[in-house]
């Protein structure tokens, strides 16, 4: 049975047809590949396909079934869509982080200032939190007009990447 893998904006269907140790026959969408694939516990892959040598490294992201893939020249965001994630997707859970009504930072850092309080009305584009990381300060803005409904962090607190900081209703 095949699974679906999303690479950037493309969704491909993958299926292993045959295997003999490290020699695999794999179908990606309509194409069939015979590859010689070796990998290790750290997510490093060495694949030889028709004589070409590919090095790929996969690093799991915080979200389950999401990876960053590093190749020779590019970095890709990859996601495995199995039955479970399809179910969650359909239910609207585990969707995009930083959705419409929340504010988060793509990087870890420290909260410098929160110029708003719960109950404050804000307009789209108003700065609601300032985060400092590595000697640089970044301002994060309200994504919509609304009212601050929840503030999950306080000033001087250190935060993780993609943590929901402020919620707006």
């Amino acid at each position: 049975m095949s699974i679906e893998i999303k690479l950037d904006n493309r969704v491909a269907s993958v299926e292993l047809l045959e295997q003999n140790e490290n020699l695999l026959k794999v179908k990606v969408d309509d194409k069939i590949y015979d590859v010689d694939l070796m990998h290790n516990d750290e997510g490093v892959f060495s694949i030889i396909h028709e004589g070409r040598s590919y090095n790929i490294e996969l690093v799991q992201s915080e979200k389950p079934k999401h990876y960053s893939a590093y190749t020779l020249y590019n970095t890709y965001d990859v996601e495995v869509i199995d039955a479970e994630s399809r179910y969650l997707r359909n239910r609207g859970v585990g969707g995009l982080i930083g959705s419409e009504n929340t504010v988060s930072s793509p990087m870890p850092g420290k909260v410098v200032k929160i110029p708003v309080s719960v109950g404050d009305p804000v307009r789209k584009g108003d700065t609601v939190v300032i985060i400092s990381a590595m000697k640089m300060e970044s301002e994060y803005k309200a994504p919509i007009d609304g009212v601050v409904s929840k503030i999950n962090v306080s000033e001087q607190e250190t935060i993780d990447a993609n943590q929901v900081l402020i919620e707006i209703e």
Partner: protein
């Protein structure tokens, strides 16, 4: 002459390790200091001794002069090397060291002060006959005076804080109508940032080259320069790439600028390693910009073409040794380029990207040097600079050096955090960089090219998809069966995937 047997390195990151390497080669013992956020930092493990000096924020640790001097005294350190940043250009700290009988590896507190005050530095340079950017030599006392001077100098001009640095308290004025408001803004920003609202006026040089000269002075009054570094590739006023020789330089200009750099240092009886920064326009007019009274981040390219270990020279000079070479003994061999590897998202306005390093593959082989401090599994703290490594290559000539840099960047893999490596590769591919025809506007000018994504072959994408598929299956496998304590001992695996296929 006082032999140094133990040095406290009042810094962290790559520069702390770089200094300790030379100490080790000189048979000098090393003391590391670290903040609470840096317990697992490489410099702690590299040093012979290591002491915690306070919480993560720099102000409470790496900038805590008294605490650092206390550790130096307790450990019997003869000297303190401040590296760059932190306390390296702090005259008060240098003075405290000397009061406590500890050698500060750097120039005297007086020279640090003199060069730290931008107006004072300008005056000194004018006295030494070094060309400075046209403008005022005194701080501006009134807005009227500002208008008068700006009219004399001619627009555009820069209004700059005398105590300035880091781009704060600085205003570019292109239009006469903006003069008053810009001066006001600069003064109030300067007051807020430095507690001093002195500003001065300089002619604005558009699209200049940033070229600096390395100098070395000893206590006997000898000063030499170690040629130039071209540092025009900058983003957010921070250097990204440096090279030497400068593609702009001519032998004649090098001689004249080098001579001025030496005279500038001699005027202030400079002792130790320092850098004279110049702005150079496309007509090869050059102007003194400022002097950095410390080691520079980009010092390795000078080391590579001259063969001189600059940290070793700093230590020898601090011991009172006379420089063992004269100007005529020095020459540049070949070409060196440095790329700074930042943990940042180059595609997203160079936003810093701290996090946990997953894997590192160091570039090695002919003509390649890396100075870094990150290691696999290391978590880059959010409190400090985002530069995690410097990649320096040398080759016989500039073309070969660019090709070697491309090769080294290609080999350099750091996963787990985003880095500037791919962006640097694009710079190496850009026409303007390859031709050597670039100035400080380079990144802005080439923005589109530098951010374009490399086209990737379809089959490469398919290989990524296959790898992800296998990784995913393998993970299911592993979580059920992997009871091994030492995964590292069995890294390459030929898994039998079959048993999981039914479950998919």
């Amino acid at each position: 002459m006082s032999k140094i047997n133990k040095i406290l390195v009042a810094n962290r990151g790559e520069i702390a390790i770089r200094i300790m390497r030379t100490c080790r080669e000189m048979g000098i013992s090393t003391v590391a200091v670290f903040s609470e956020a840096d317990r697992t930092s490489m410099h702690v493990r590299y040093a012979v001794e290591a002491y915690c000096i306070g919480p993560a924020p720099s102000a409470e640790s790496y900038l805590n002069a008294d605490k650092i001097i206390e550790v130096a005294k307790m450990t019997g350190s003869d000297a303190i090397h401040p590296g760059y940043g932190f306390l390296s250009e702090n005259a008060e700290f240098a003075r405290k060291c000397s009061k406590n009988g500890i050698i500060f590896i750097g120039p005297s507190p007086e020279v640090i002060e003199q060069m730290g005050d931008k107006i004072e530095a300008r005056k000194t340079m004018i006295k030494a006959g070094v060309p400075v950017v046209p403008g005022t030599t005194e701080s501006i006392k009134s807005e009227d005076e500002a208008v008068k001077i700006i009219n004399e100098v001619g627009l555009p001009v820069m209004v700059k804080a005398a105590a300035g640095g880091g781009g704060k308290g600085m205003r570019l004025v292109r239009d006469a109508a903006e003069i008053i408001s810009s001066v006001r803004a600069a003064r109030s920003e300067a007051l807020a940032a430095f507690g001093d609202d002195s500003v001065y006026i300089e002619k604005y040089i558009s699209s200049p080259h940033h070229i600096e000269f390395q100098i070395l002075g000893d206590q006997q009054g000898n000063v030499v320069h170690l040629f130039e570094r071209e540092c025009s590739v900058q983003r957010r006023h921070q250097k990204m790439i440096e090279e030497t020789p400068s593609p702009l330089m001519t032998p004649e200009l090098r001689k004249v600028m080098g001579q001025h750099a030496v005279e500038a240092a001699q005027t202030v009886n400079y002792v130790g390693a320092g850098t004279i920064e110049f702005l150079v326009d496309n007509n090869l007019n050059f102007y003194f910009l400022e002097m950095n009274t410390r080691l520079q981040v980009e010092h390795p390219i000078t080391e590579r073409v001259t063969g001189i270990d600059l940290v070793k020279q700093q230590i020898l000079v601090a011991e009172g040794e006379e420089l063992s070479f004269k100007q005529e003994d020095l020459f540049q061999r070949g070409h060196a380029i440095e790329c700074r590897i930042y943990a940042e998202d180059s595609d997203n306005n160079f936003m810093p990207n701290p996090g946990k390093i997953h894997n590192i593959n160091q570039p090695l082989g002919l003509g390649v040097r890396t100075d870094g401090y990150a290691y696999e599994g290391y978590e880059i703290p959010i409190y400090y600079d985002s530069m995690i490594s410097k990649l320096i290559v040398w080759a016989q000539n500039r073309d070969e050096a660019i090709e070697r840099m491309k090769r080294a960047l290609y080999e350099y893999k750091i996963t787990g955090v985003k880095t500037s490596i791919k962006f640097l590769e694009r710079i190496m591919d850009s026409g303007d960089f390859r031709s050597g025809n670039y100035d400080t506007n380079f990144i802005e000018k080439n923005h589109e090219f530098l951010l374009a994504r490399s086209p990737s072959a379809d089959d490469c994408e398919d290989m990524v998809i296959i790898a992800t598929y296998i990784e995913f299956i393998d993970q299911i496998n592993r979580s059920y069966t992997n009871k091994e304590l030492y995964p590292a001992q069995n890294r390459w695996t030929k898994y039998t995937y079959k048993k999981n296929f039914e479950r998919l």
